[in-house]
């Protein structure tokens, strides 16, 4: 069993998915989903420990090694860290889904919901474990296709349009990625990332590799919704069922960022990506525009889910900003924020799911005076909101601290100022919610007779809220995971 952990990581949710579709019973399918997502979390934890005691794991699928043209699964410190992020969110969201999905998805589709959910999880985990470029594309499409289906399950008819838009944009991104992979294969005859890393620098100067680099970068940036390729994201997050938003917002874009890091550092190599292609000069301004403009747009939203969707775009900007600094501190900040933002946004979207459960709405106007009626839900929202702003003793503070340090190291003090300034903008939009919820009287609107959300929703929400505070006070585990991930990336890169 133990030597097969890398493949089990993918197989457990992948095999549980058709099982869910077969049982046709919502509750039973949910039980399968919880069991397999917890199983996946346990496997990720085991892998994390193995990677940190004996180093990167390599697994040849079916016993065919990479040199024989086989597919290699390869997990290093970065992969192990991202696996932890994805499976942690998966393990928390699946128990939450039971009540939330019962309310928001038709009864006949509930079992299929869990099937699609597990397929999405399997796809995301597959992207992280694989060491084969084409496998990345296949898993990316498994996770994306199931994500489109999940978003389309939203009750509002605008969910369908959001899902369609995402499908078109996502497929264009995926096709760009295939073009890039094809060009790499044509030039080197290999699809294995480690082989490519050796073969690419040996090639004589040519035009194909820069073009492949551009196609791959743009394709992946579409998937991770970097400004200006973000148009699909706000609607998709706003109209998807709450559990789906919580899961996808915390994992899908994060895994796309992982792919970006793999490409830049492992496949092409840091010297090629950042020195020869001058990637930093493109990513830095884009990420700054993303942070600033998306925070600004978030302030003016009246739908809280949409507000947080725009805030997610800004947070993706922070992560890309850390990458574009091209230093170990910046990278540590990015990888830390990848984890912290997953926890924070998961917590916030789950708290909103609780509101949705009681009110059937997340419009600010309907949430007046909600703090008294749903104190636990709004308490979790407040903790998450503090995390988003980066208040000390929350997880968000740690990653922003590293980010500002990274910017100052490079002498980019205006960037550091902008990070602080946009944190104030986060205060503005979170405050708007706090003011409505705690400091305005209920005018006797839709929420007049609502009560606290059920425990099945509150426990998972508070789990993430507590983690958000815990990793703000004791960040040993996360910084250890992030800095060893950076070390493994930079080690291969140089």
């Amino acid at each position: 069993m133990m030597p097969h952990l890398p493949v089990m990581q993918v197989m457990v949710p992948l095999l549980a998915a058709p099982l869910c579709a077969l049982v046709r019973n919502g509750r039973l399918a949910w039980a399968i989903a919880v069991a397999s997502s917890w199983g996946a979390f346990w496997i990720a934890w085991e892998i994390f420990q193995v990677v940190h005691s004996i180093g990167a794991i390599s697994y040849s699928l079916g016993g065919w090694t990479a040199s024989e043209g086989g597919i290699e699964y390869r997990i290093d410190a970065l992969g192990a860290f991202v696996l932890m992020v994805v499976t942690l969110v998966g393990a928390v969201v699946t128990p939450y889904a039971l009540e939330s999905v019962r309310k928001e998805v038709d009864k006949s589709k509930q079992a299929l919901f869990y099937a699609a959910f597990l397929l999405c999880l399997a796809g995301l985990l597959g992207i992280v474990v694989t060491g084969d470029m084409f496998n990345v594309f296949v898993f990316l499409e498994i996770s994306s296709l199931s994500a489109y289906a999940l978003i389309g399950l939203g009750k509002d008819r605008r969910a369908l349009r959001a899902s369609y838009q995402y499908l078109i944009m996502g497929s264009v991104g995926a096709t760009f990625i295939v073009i890039g992979i094809g060009m790499l294969y044509v030039m080197t005859g290999s699809l294995n990332m480690a082989n490519l890393a050796i073969l690419l620098p040996e090639l004589p100067a040519n035009r194909t590799i820069p073009v492949a680099f551009a196609f791959l970068t743009v394709g992946v940036c579409l998937k991770l919704a970097l400004f200006p390729l973000h148009m699909w994201l706000p609607n998709a997050y706003t109209f998807a069922p709450s559990a789906v938003t919580a899961f996808i917002a915390s994992t899908a874009t994060k895994v796309a960022i992982y792919v970006l890091l793999r490409l830049f550092y492992t496949v092409f190599g840091a010297d090629y990506s950042f020195l020869e292609m001058q990637l930093g000069t493109y990513l830095l301004p884009l990420s700054l525009i993303a942070i600033f403009s998306m925070s600004l747009v978030a302030i003016f939203q009246t739908n809280v889910k949409r507000m947080l969707a725009y805030s997610s775009l800004a947070q993706i900007g922070y992560i890309i900003l850390g990458i574009s600094l091209f230093s170990s501190t910046g990278m540590t900040a990015s990888i830390l924020h990848l984890f912290n933002h997953a926890v924070i946004k998961g917590c916030l979207f789950m708290a909103l799911g609780c509101v949705m459960y009681r009110l059937n709405s997340v419009e600010l106007d309907d949430m007046m005076g909600l703090g008294k009626k749903m104190p636990l839900t709004m308490g979790a929202f407040l903790v998450g909101g503090f995390g988003l702003i980066g208040v000390p003793f929350t997880a968000g503070f740690i990653s922003k601290w590293y980010l500002i340090q990274g910017a100052l190291e490079k002498g980019l003090w205006p960037v550091a100022v902008l990070v602080l300034l946009t944190s104030l903008m986060a205060v503005a939009y979170i405050w708007k919610v706090v003011e409505t919820v705690y400091f305005s009287e209920d005018p006797g609107s839709v929420n007049s007779d609502c009560s606290e959300a059920p425990l099945g929703l509150l426990i998972p929400t508070w789990t993430l809220a507590i983690l958000c505070v815990y990793f703000g006070i004791d960040a040993t585990l996360t910084t250890f995971g992030a800095s060893s991930a950076v070390a493994s990336l930079m080690g291969i890169g140089s």
Binding site: F134, F137, G152, R157, R158, R161, L167, Y185
Partner: protein, 117 residues
């Protein structure tokens, strides 16, 4: 001559641009999917062309032949075709549900209906 020897790739580029243009310019949701399909097909041809070796046969072990096409790109594209079919199927089923919910599949009309909410 050199331009003609890359004939496949010229077709790939033409198809790619046609597909991409249809995808962007068309307001009809079904036509957008058609554009996406053409766009994806161009990439299939790109891969398959790359696997072709002049004078090579099908990659079947036989004492008579020693030169054969590279089967790996073909196999990869088989997978990509499956992904493309799944994408089209999902996209079209979304269009069906959009038609049921909105009564139209024209993008601008749907946008107008959403704005008036």
């Amino acid at each position: 001559m050199s331009a003609l020897s890359f004939l496949n790739y010229w077709f790939v580029i033409i198809l790619m641009m046609v597909g991409f243009y249809v995808l962007i310019a068309q307001g009809n949701l079904v036509k957008k999917i058609v554009g996406l399909n053409i766009f994806q097909t161009s990439v299939f041809i790109l891969y398959i062309s790359a696997g072709k070796i002049t004078g090579g046969t099908a990659p079947i072990l036989d004492a008579q032949w020693s030169v054969y096409s590279n089967p790996l790109p073909h196999v990869l594209i088989l997978t990509a075709i499956v992904v493309g079919v799944a994408t089209s199927a999902l996209g079209l089923s979304l269009v069906v549900r959009i038609k049921e919910a909105y009564g139209t599949i024209e993008e601008d009309e749907i946008a107008r209906m959403d704005e008036s909410l």
